[in-house]
Symmetry: C2
Subunit: 196 residues, 2 copies
């Protein structure tokens, strides 16, 4: 594994577990099996390293969206359900610490920080995608539905820390399934009451 990649992986691991501001470049270099000098030969500054790490996460998420749209072409309902299931699966693997990008946003209050823009742009793109999906899925108020989805998915990461990951994950897919099933059979939310 090339040095640069090892540094990014080590940095990501430490950033996520100890917080961006809670870890120094020296610790990152050591965790990557190298030293500070080499790190600074690949990244101009710690902030640039942070930004590059965030860019990697965002790129990975966008890739996943590509997979999802390719897999469920012409079936936005199934796409939304799959999305919630993947999120729930990730929740189960996420111990203690909440959303990576959410935490990063909390730790980088400076609006000028390069990483902030990357995250916000990505969230805006994601939201637009969800609105489009909800429109295609036949929701009568696609923006409302998309905001509901976003709130649920984002909130799941926060709640999972204090309530259980398993329960939150299961209920997340349960609610999303209900919403989607509801649009599938035009006569809406017939079984929603039984579940709630």
């Amino acid at each position: 594994m090339p040095v640069r990649e090892r540094i990014l992986v080590a940095a990501g691991d430490l950033f996520h577990r100890q917080g961006i501001r809670g870890v120094g470049v020296e610790a990152i270099a050591e965790a990557a099996g190298t030293n500070k000098m080499t790190l600074y030969r690949y990244f101009a500054s710690k902030d640039e390293l942070i930004a590059e790490w965030v860019r990697g996460i965002v790129a990975h998420k966008e890739e996943e969206w590509k997979d999802l749209t390719a897999k469920h072409v012409g079936n936005p309902q199934a796409l939304l359900q799959d999305w919630s299931r993947r999120t729930a699966a990730k929740l189960r693997a996420m111990e203690e610490r909440g959303s990576t990008l959410g935490n990063a946003l909390a730790e980088l209050p400076d609006p000028q920080h390069p990483a902030r823009r990357v995250i916000q742009d990505h969230k805006v793109r994601e939201h637009k995608r969800v609105v489009r999906l909800c429109k295609a899925a036949g929701f009568q108020d696609p923006v409302l539905a998309a905001n509901l989805f976003s709130m649920l998915l984002e909130g799941a990461h926060s709640c999972a820390q204090c309530i259980g990951m398993r329960q939150i994950g299961e209920h997340l897919v349960q609610v999303v399934d209900l919403m989607v099933e509801n649009t599938r059979q035009q006569q809406i939310m017939a079984e929603y009451p039984t579940a709630l």
Copy 2:
């Protein structure tokens, strides 16, 4: 205003705007119109100051819950609606930065940190309260409903940063109203489709 309180207010303001780790004790003392020495005569350490600040926030929230329960005694549905409306109102006043406690949790990864326990205990208490409310409100699956509420309310703070505060706030109360109206008339979610 007594010194100790001024320090707590100044600290809270700076913590929220610049991040806990992004502000030094000297800046806090100056913002409070005093100096570092006096600060350390009231707080044993920065971590204790953080913990005390968090205790204040949590106490304020618990107080608000007392108000809510006193105001809507015997009417859990109205309570939940009022809760969502107050949250939406706070969202409108929250510029850029997300949930204060959520950010604090992200900035204090150490499980041993005194402030962490305070936040987590509070969230657990809050969740139990919401479960009890959902049971009283007649939801068929109170735990599922409570988790849904929690995800929505928590997620609203995250989403408000990238989508608009106003829109998220409005949609939050809209969805909560639908859920609550649904339990009021046993015949469930009749108008939910029209809205979504």
